[in-house]
Amino acid sequence: MPLIGGGAPLLLWAIISYSGAFANAFFPTPVQILQAGAKLLSDGVLIGDILASSGRVLFGFLAAAIVSIPIGLLMGTFHTMEGLFSPVVGSVRYMPVAAFVPLVMIWFGYDEPAKVLIVFLGIVLYNTTMIVDAVRKIPNEILNAAYTLGVSRPILLFQVIFPAALPSILDTMRTNIAGAWNFLILAEVIAAKQGLGFRIIQSQRYVDTDKVLFCICVIGLIGLLTDYALRKLAIALTPWSEHS
């Protein structure tokens, strides 16, 4: 099934591109796309682009995880914490992060921290709200069982709520890393000297459609690999959970 699911669009692409219905400059064949990739590699820019973009995503993603996991757990557990954070999380969540990009550039310049910050801002609130939900979905029976076994609040948080929510937290991370790539491209499109998003914009200027497509495919591939790695990580960290 995955072969058909992945193969069918590729076949369709090949048929359209080889049919000559569109100029190859606009609609390159799969072989041309791969050749463009080889060119990027031999020019010595591809690896640098991949590393630059992946690094930004990684740091932004990790920072968002470090901030959102404790805040989400606290908000989900304690009503007082929810009262403290929810005005910010609730309202800012509906403001498009893309709109903040110029502001970030004005305040933090065009360097690495600004890009990492955009990735961070892009996903931190989603992470938090999803983790709050994960905590809320912990079955009451689990919490009540813990209470009748004699837990105190801190023990409940660290030894019950955290492990109980961990599978959902890992799921959240897996979902939101895709979002991290979206915001990274947004940041790189606006200002960068390196990176896959930058390469896409650069190639667009010269109508190197094949390079644009190649970079998009690379991002997709990195996404797949990350997803696979995070899934393996989830299985390793929570072998006790039901994994689909």
């Binding site: 079955p139 029976e141 069982a145 209470y147 009748t148 076994l149 004699g150 030894q159 072998p239 006790w240």
Partner: protein
């Protein structure tokens, strides 16, 4: 350590008798209603103070911004070593009452006493077994049992002994290192019962613990539960909607009526101490069943 299923020979067995004796000592020091008397007569066993006392418990919920009286002036007490089953129609407030006893829900009014002392929040003196989903899925069966023992700050050796003992009691020794997802429904409930028992609570509360099981597993667990009680004589308050189960297991059945929920009547179950599943088809059993079912029907 050798694991014996004979409770009296078990090094951990002392607790149950230990607590009964300490209650007696306490009583002879402060006899209720006999203050000042120098030589209080030792009380006959049936006048032992109540292990658990539910006093005038009422609970009013907010239901669609209307007050909904779910429990009204519920009184119920359990003697030490008593196994009481609470039966009643679905929605009459059984779970609410049990949660109040466990300290998980606050009553609107009334008090809960354990060993004459008022309790408010939840505590390890009142262990609880739920209908399902209460095992910690991230811990193995042994670690689930150990969870409460660690909270009680038992030494590593004590914890190991208790885990081994209660795993043996519920017949799950071979599954000590299994995660809950690897167990069948019946095994999960046995593990949850072991976890609650290992904490050695003063009172064990159970809310329809066999309600989610198939008929055959349910009967097996009823038998297991009764045997367990015959050995340990833990004080148990169990909710069930299955009248047959209530009669088979308990020394007394408390029948609840609804709207508002209160205890309608208590029926002493005068069946032999040692119970077998075959008893369910005996005349005396069927008569009890008919009597209680009638009470429920006219609630």
């Amino acid at each position: 350590m050798s694991l014996s299923l004979d409770f009296v020979n078990n090094p951990l067995a002392g607790r149950f008798w230990g607590s009964a004796t300490s209650a007696m000592t306490e009583l002879s020091l402060h006899p209720p209603g006999a203050a000042g008397s120098k030589f209080p007569a030792p009380p006959p066993p049936e006048e032992l103070p109540d292990k658990l006392c539910v006093q005038k418990i009422s609970k009013i919920f907010d239901y669609q911004s209307q007050p909904l009286t779910v429990l009204q002036d519920v009184d119920l007490s359990l003697k030490s070593n008593e196994f009481v089953c609470l039966v009643g129609a679905s929605g009459c407030g059984k779970s609410t009452l049990l949660n109040i006893v466990a300290g998980l829900t606050a009553p609107t009014s009334g008090r809960i006493l354990v060993d004459q002392e008022e309790v408010t929040g939840p505590g390890s003196d009142r262990g609880m077994v739920f209908q399902a989903y209460s095992l910690f899925p991230w811990l193995t069966v042994a670690k689930n049992i150990e969870f409460g023992l660690k909270l009680q700050k038992l030494s590593k050796r004590e914890r190991r002994e208790r885990i081994a003992y209660y795993l043996e009691v519920v017949g799950l020794s071979r599954f000590a290192n299994a995660f809950p997802k690897q167990l069948s429904g019946g095994m999960k409930q046995r593990a949850a019962i072991a976890r609650a028992l290992a904490n050695e609570p003063e009172v064990l509360l159970m809310d329809e613990p066999f309600g989610a099981l198939d008929a055959q597993t349910k009967e097996q667990l009823q038998l297991f539960m009764r045997e367990m009680w015959e050995r340990t004589h833990t004080t148990i308050l169990m909710v069930t909607h299955d009248v047959e189960e209530a009669i088979f297991l308990s020394s007394r059945v408390a029948v609840m009526e609804a709207h508002p929920g209160r205890i309608k009547e208590s029926v002493e179950i005068e069946l032999p101490e040692h119970r077998e599943l075959e008893m369910k088809s005996e005349v005396s059993f069927i008569q009890l069943k008919r009597r209680i079912t009638t009470m429920l029907g006219h609630g």
